[in-house]
């Protein structure tokens, strides 16, 4: 098997795996799709983009960065209020 064919085959496997991950997260109903803040779903989409980008470095980099920024936003949604609340309490208390 030539390296080119092997590469395409591997890309196909990756796309299939990413699609399976996305499908699993959607179908299992583990997430609230309307809000879309399931990290595994984001990873699945990133994986799909990376597999389809055919090793174009710029696309890979920016897709990665976009995923990081989005997940940071998601994390902030859940955790930032704790940090802010802590500082507010600290200011009030001390």
């Amino acid at each position: 098997m030539s390296p080119e064919v092997r590469g395409r085959l591997w890309t196909g496997v990756e796309i299939g795996a990413a699609a399976a991950l996305i499908g699993w997260r959607l179908l299992r109903g583990m997430i609230d799709v309307g809000r879309g803040w399931d990290w595994a779903l984001v990873i699945g989409v990133l994986w799909m983009v990376l597999a389809l980008s055919r090793r174009v470095k710029r696309i890979e980099d920016f897709a990665f960065l976009a995923a990081c920024a989005y997940l940071t936003f998601v994390y902030a949604y859940f955790q930032l209020n704790q940090t802010v609340q802590f500082f507010t309490m600290l200011m009030d208390g001390l």
């Binding site: 990290w39 997940l71 209020n81 704790q82 802590f86």
Partner: protein, 612 residues
Amino acid sequence: MPFIFGLLLTLLANAGISLAAFGIYRMSRGGDRGEDLLWYGIVRWALMAGVVILLGSVQALRWWSLGAVAVLGGLVVAAIWRVEVASVVRAPWELLERVRAWWRAADLKSRTAATGAAALALLLAGRIAFAVWFFAPYAGDETCFQLPRLASWIQTGSLTHPHLEDVRSGYPAGFELLEVWWVAFLHHDVLIEMAGVEFLLYAGAAAYVLGRRLGLARAQGLLAALLFCGLPVVNSQSTSCCNSIAMTALALAGFAFTMGTGSVWRDSALIAAVSLLGLSFSPLFLCLVPAFVVIAAFRRRRPAAPSPVHLGRIATLLLVAAVGLFWYGRNAYDFGNPVYPFGDWSPFSARANYTMAPRLDSTDLVSTPLEALRLNASTMMNTYLYDAYVPYSHQATRQSGWGWYGMALGLPALLLVLRWRIFPVSFSGGVVAAGAILFTALQPELWNMRHAGWLAVLPCLAIPVVLFRLESIPRRAFAYLLMIALTLNIVGTLVVDGIEPEAMRRSMAASWNTRSGWAFMPPEPLTSAEPVCAIGIHYPVYTLYGPDFGRRVVLMRFGTIEETERAMRAAGARALVVGDLRPRERSALVRRLQERVFVVVNQRILRLREAP
């Protein structure tokens, strides 16, 4: 004893025992600097624990005996290996010189990156110093059943087994053996958290060595170490007297040893040593051993010269084994079951005992290991990774404690690194398999992730790899994101467990020698230093001892109420502190209250009416 005198003795004894450990290490080191560094940590802790076990077993665990052994051991090594001792003393200065030389040769970009990393490391050090100095042990399992063992040793000078109602006091107390070295000389617990800080540093070193084994450059390895130490779960455990930090640090060392560069026999010996020592901190370490073996067996190994059989190495391994298995031998002697409080030899057949035994009901247990795995994995992935709406906690309650970058930046980075095949499949797969085995052995509780802090090493290793491979603009953006995330992690762990500012103020305002865990809890129920008896579970009995271990506390198991009264009279105690009791015990106590043998002082304290 004046504080400064106690502090000097503490430092002197720790230096002495470290030097003595250096002598043993010198006989058994291999030649690879990274592995040798990790090996030294194992030898040092095994020796420290061994000395405490030995002195405690002959009822001579006093500050002077501990100090004498440490200083004598250090002097012997100093006399035998003068040159090496000089090199140990010189090592920090040589490191400083190398840093200076690097700084002079580095370009502006590297200097800026190094300054940022150093600033974050200083912030981390500041947080640790703050927690060590201003917070006394106050939380959960530590004050209920772990630290009472240490307090009892310090008071009696003997390695007694306090008969706590809480069967978890039968778990290995290897971590408390090391805490003795920070407590015995001051006869005070103000520096007790330093034992955990040692393990935090070790975890950082292990992350660095592991990174280097996986092909990371030095700068990447250092960043991975900083990131791992900055994780809320790891960072907060280091200053909370929680033995999970020891398991985390040794787990990373074990993974580093699996990627070792020595011969099969040497790598196997290192893995055996780290596993044996790990077992002295937690039986859960057993879950990691199959993964160590699998990774070591399946990785591609470069041909290495066979290590000659060396008596020094075998003797050192035997020392580690003796220390690691000590608690299991003690349990076999005390309870007739080496794996007490397991029901029997098999961890899975009596898994209920593992984490739930102290509970008085057992209705919420899962029935099979696979069900435990499914629930633990799904709660981690669906809930805990977000650390949603909870303050960081050393017990990782309802969270993973991976913080701002563990999930948000680390998981995408891990995907890239796995696609690039930077880490061997056997390694990544082995770490995940170790997590899966651990999850089969844990009850799906709210705080199960505290045992799995080492899992976050994968994202922490992946982030530096990706950072150094990104193009210029994305790299800068990612670096800023990372620095903000790391800062928020460290700041977020300034105060863990959602402590109220009022409690913080109480603790900080107290003089160091009166600072106690009661600052974070309801007011201390006792006003005088009178002796006290304690029964029941889920009560922070450690705090009854006082920060200087000044109050005599008799820990007892509830047999019958009459036995309890007899034990109180024998101990000369009239106050009885009551934790959670079983219904039968509670009704017996109520009966004696109605008969006016006891009077109620407050919710937790009863007083025996007649003079003992």
